[in-house]
Symmetry: C2
Subunit: 331 residues, 2 copies
Amino acid sequence: MKNKQILLAARPLGAVSESNFSLVETGIPRAGDGEFVVRNHFLSLDPYMRGRMDEAKSYAASAAVGAVMVGTTVGEVIESKHPKFKAGDFVETRSGWQLYGISNGGGARRVDPAFVPLSAYLGAVGMPGVTAWIGLNEHGRPKPGETVVVSAASGAVGGTVGQLAKLKGCRVVGIAGGRAKCDYVFNQLGFDACVDYKAGNLDADLKAACDKGIDVYFDNVGGPVLDAVLGHMNAFSRIALCGLISGYDNADALTVHNFRSFLVNRINLRGFICSDHIELWKPALAELGQLVHDGKIKYRESIAEGLENAPAAFIGLLKGKNFGKQLVKLV
Amino acid sequence: MKNKQILLAARPLGAVSESNFSLVETGIPRAGDGEFVVRNHFLSLDPYMRGRMDEAKSYAASAAVGAVMVGTTVGEVIESKHPKFKAGDFVETRSGWQLYGISNGGGARRVDPAFVPLSAYLGAVGMPGVTAWIGLNEHGRPKPGETVVVSAASGAVGGTVGQLAKLKGCRVVGIAGGRAKCDYVFNQLGFDACVDYKAGNLDADLKAACDKGIDVYFDNVGGPVLDAVLGHMNAFSRIALCGLISGYDNADALTVHNFRSFLVNRINLRGFICSDHIELWKPALAELGQLVHDGKIKYRESIAEGLENAPAAFIGLLKGKNFGKQLVKLV
């Protein structure tokens, strides 16, 4: 029995490639006093990881070259010398990209796979769900009847945003890439409409889907999609900005041309990340857990099999090849 | 005795030219029941007027071709059949670009030229001052010791923003065009520093002037100046956006390249215009009037002589040729 780890081998120059990663084998860690060892079942792959691969100043420290790639996992405690976690507990930890992790309990969360599926704690009942909840409730603040638009609508964050907004009585329009994702968002997630940004008609399609304009835009992507949305924002509308995936490889792709809309429509734009609002995680997770348990929030997962396939899955995520929450199954 | 008026003769295609205006003579209006006639002493020229000349959707209706150009004046009531205004009263009205205006009292404000100079009611104790007050207090919300940056710093809005922020105990850095304006902002208005955006070294000069980064940016200009500022914003900083004068002739000039900063620094950007906050005018004007009266807020004026020179003065304003609040003296 060995541990496997994926390290950041080199920082990407532009697009991420598999050569930026390396796979190594090590021994399985042993718990010291106050620590526990977790066997990870699922690794979450998330767009924010792209930023950690760069050296540029961002909201979190860079990952170190040669270190295990940062990431959150769910798994089972297999050995514990920690007073609050015992063998057999299921936990979410910041183990990184590896089969076995060691934790002193910092940032660890005990989870209950009998309440919602274990993997959901990495999605709608985890960081992506909390991101959706905070951005919508704190920054978007939609009123019933208002029109809420969300990009990357079939993803872990976007899908949750839209379903939460529907529960608030909003008209909800998704933006996603390709017919299959749009059909899923409309038919399975229950959005009022979903616009395919790859269909080449984004501006007109948005206008048709948002005949009363847009009151809240939850943005995960930036770039040309944001520019198109800006042309349809209403007076006193709000933009919750939590991701710019269209420009993670190339900041030039984030150029905004229709900046005038911010003034003309007196838009309130708020950049945020979910860890800015630690005090909101508890109420957010309680609500999200219940909604997933009750089937009122649905989600879809793309599951890569085996740690060795994590780099390819992550590269696909950055290109929008995933369909729903991207996970790596480790057991 | 004749009235003179300047009409919007044609909408500009790009830059405004004198051919967009025409000067006509008409009779002096007579007050009907519930009306009064005002002889205007000063006409205010303001950047927002550029937007009114276009047909494009904006926050206010376009000015009509063939109608008197919109604008605010201060002057003396010379005839009144209005119960609340009498001959000899000094008033601010939305007379437009003309020597004599008629009013039913809507939007009119009685002013006292013995308290502060009459022209100040078009500047620091008028719409520009209120814009500064609202943007700083409602949207910028600086704390003592924070760094506040304001563009168009020698102008009617910018100069007031900076002096209000100094009174709050902030470090205040202006951005203005040319050495003379920067010297005035630093020496006369008491800013801690002023950066000359025409000197060709904006990014480095901003960095030197804001060694702790920027917590609040009050923007009147947009475009490359905004892009440079975005590179120095602190985490959780605020941008109050009330003008985009760099792009009023050409929206392409407003392209924002450094959009990533909004996410990385979790910036809160708020587009606003002062008329969105009618409830704040009374407290804002009371405070601003007292501060100007007490000499705690200073200002400078560029005064064009005669209505016929208003178009040239307005064109100069759009190019930054004014130095302080741009007025036209009508008597």
